[in-house]
Symmetry: C2
DNA sequence: GATGATTTGTGCGTATGTATG
DNA sequence: GCATACATACGCACAAATCAT
C-alpha cells in the first residue's frame, strides 16, 4: 500500500483551458466579451505560451472566436445559430434517448428517476428565484440519458454543443409555468425509456427540445 | 481597378494546421503514426510555437491524440468508435437529407444530378483500380447535401466526423459490385430530394449509411 | 540502470500590427 | 499624420521528461 504519492504537475495548458472554459460556462465571461492572452497570462502569473494553446483549443471548440485581426471574443450565437444547434440536438439527443431506452440497466433507470424526484422537490419547495438547483437537475437528466446511451462520440459532440448555449439556459424559465411543463416532458420521456419504447422515447425527446427552442425564440425576439 | 495588391502573410499556425491535416487525410500519415512537434518545426523551418498551436487544434478536432506522456499519434479508431461515429452520422446526415429536400433550389438539385451523372461515368469507363475519382465524386454527393441543408452547425459537425474516418473510405470498395450499390442508393436518395419527400429522403440516407457500416464491419472483422 | 540524444513544457524577447488620442 | 500604448506572431533558450543505447 502506498503511504503517499507524488503528484504529477498538471500542465498549465490544461489548467488554463479549464479555467477559461469555466469562466464562460459560469457566466463570468459573457458572450461577446473580449479576452487578451497577455492579460490572462499576467493574471495567472504564467507565460503566454500555454495560454495561446488553450485559446486555440477553445476556438476549435467554438467557445472563442478569433477574428482576422486576432481579436479574441467569447462566442455569441445568433438566433439562427441557436436554431441550427437545436436542430442538431434534436437529431442527436433523440438518438440518445432511443439508445438509452434500449440499453439502460435497472440501476440506471433508477438514477434517472431519482433525478426527476429531485426536480419535483425543487419545484415544490425551492424559493431561489434563479432556480439554480432546478436548472442543474434538469440539465443532469439530459446528461444522464446521453451517458447511458453507450455512444462516446455522441457524448462528445453533445457536450461541445451544450457548452455553446449554456449561457442561455437560465432564460428558459422567464416564463411562468415553463418549469412544470419541462418537468412533465421529462417525466414522459422517462416513462418511455422505462418501458423500453425506443421510438416513443426518441420522439418525445425531439418534441421536448422543440418546445424548448420555441421558448428561446420568443425570449430572443422580445429583446433578450 | 487595382493594378496590384498586397498579400497579407498567412499565419504559420494556419498553414501548419492545414499541412498536417492534409497529410492525414491523404493517408501520408496513417492511423497510429507518431508525430513530433520539434521535428515538424525543423522540417518546416519554423519555430515550435505555431506547430504546438496547430497540434492542439488537431487534438481538439480528434485527429491527433496526445497521451499522458505527451506522445502525439494519429487517431486510430476502434471498430466501436466507427460504429459510434456512423450512428451519429445516420442521425445527422438524414437530418441533412431532410433539410435539403425541403430547401434545395432547382439549381442545387441540378448540381446533385450532375454529380450522380459523373459517378455513373466513372463507374462505366474509369479503369483506375483505386477508383479515386469515383470515391471523390461519391464523397461530393454527401458534401453537397450537407451544404444545401442551410445548417452551418450540422456542416461543421459532419466535416469533423468525416475527417475521422476518411482513411477508411477506400476500404468500402474492396467488395465487387459495392460501387454500383452505392450509386443506386445515392440515386434513390436524390429522387426523393427532387420530389421533396423529406421523410423518405431522410430514411433512405439512414439506410444507405447503415449498409455502408455493415460493409466496414465485414472488412474490419476479416482482418482489415 | 547510467548516459547522451531527443522531445516537450514553459518563459521571454523582438518584430509587427492595431487602436487611440 | 504621428506617437504612444498595448496586442499578437513567432523565434529562441533552458529545464525537465523521455527514449535509446
Amino acid at each position: 500500500m502506498k503511504s503517499f504519492s507524488i503528484e504529477k504537475p498538471v500542465r498549465y495548458y490544461d489548467q488554463v483551458y479549464h479555467s477559461i472554459r469555466k469562466r464562460i460556462v459560469d457566466g463570468e465571461l459573457q458572450p461577446g466579451d473580449s479576452l487578451y492572452e497577455a492579460r490572462i497570462a499576467r493574471e495567472l502569473n504564467i507565460s503566454r505560451s500555454p495560454v495561446r494553446e488553450a485559446i486555440r483549443a477553445l476556438e476549435k471548440e467554438g467557445l472563442l472566436e478569433i477574428d482576422e485581426k486576432s481579436r479574441i471574443t467569447v462566442y455569441k450565437p445568433t438566433l439562427k445559430d441557436i436554431e441550427d444547434i437545436y436542430e442538431c440536438r434534436m437529431a442527436l439527443e433523440s438518438l440518445g434517448a432511443k439508445l438509452t431506452a434500449r440499453f439502460a440497466t435497472s440501476k440506471e433507470i433508477e438514477e434517472l428517476e431519482t433525478t426527476l424526484l429531485k426536480s419535483k422537490e425543487f419545484l415544490e419547495v425551492d424559493t431561489d428565484p434563479n432556480k439554480v438547483a432546478l436548472i442543474e437537475e434538469n440539465s443532469r437528466f439530459h446528461d444522464l440519458i446521453i451517458e447511458f446511451s453507450q455512444n462516446n462520440r455522441l457524448k462528445k459532440i453533445l457536450t461541445d454543443l451544450h457548452s455553446l448555449i449554456i449561457f442561455y439556459r437560465t432564460l428558459n424559465f422567464h416564463d411562468e409555468n415553463r418549469e412544470w411543463v419541462v418537468y412533465y416532458e421529462h417525466q414522459a420521456i422517462f416513462d418511455q425509456i422505462k418501458r423500453k419504447d425506443e421510438e416513443k422515447a426518441a420522439f418525445l425527446m425531439k418534441k421536448h427540445l422543440e418546445t424548448d427552442l420555441q421558448h428561446l425564440r420568443k425570449i430572443f425576439s422580445t429583446g433578450l
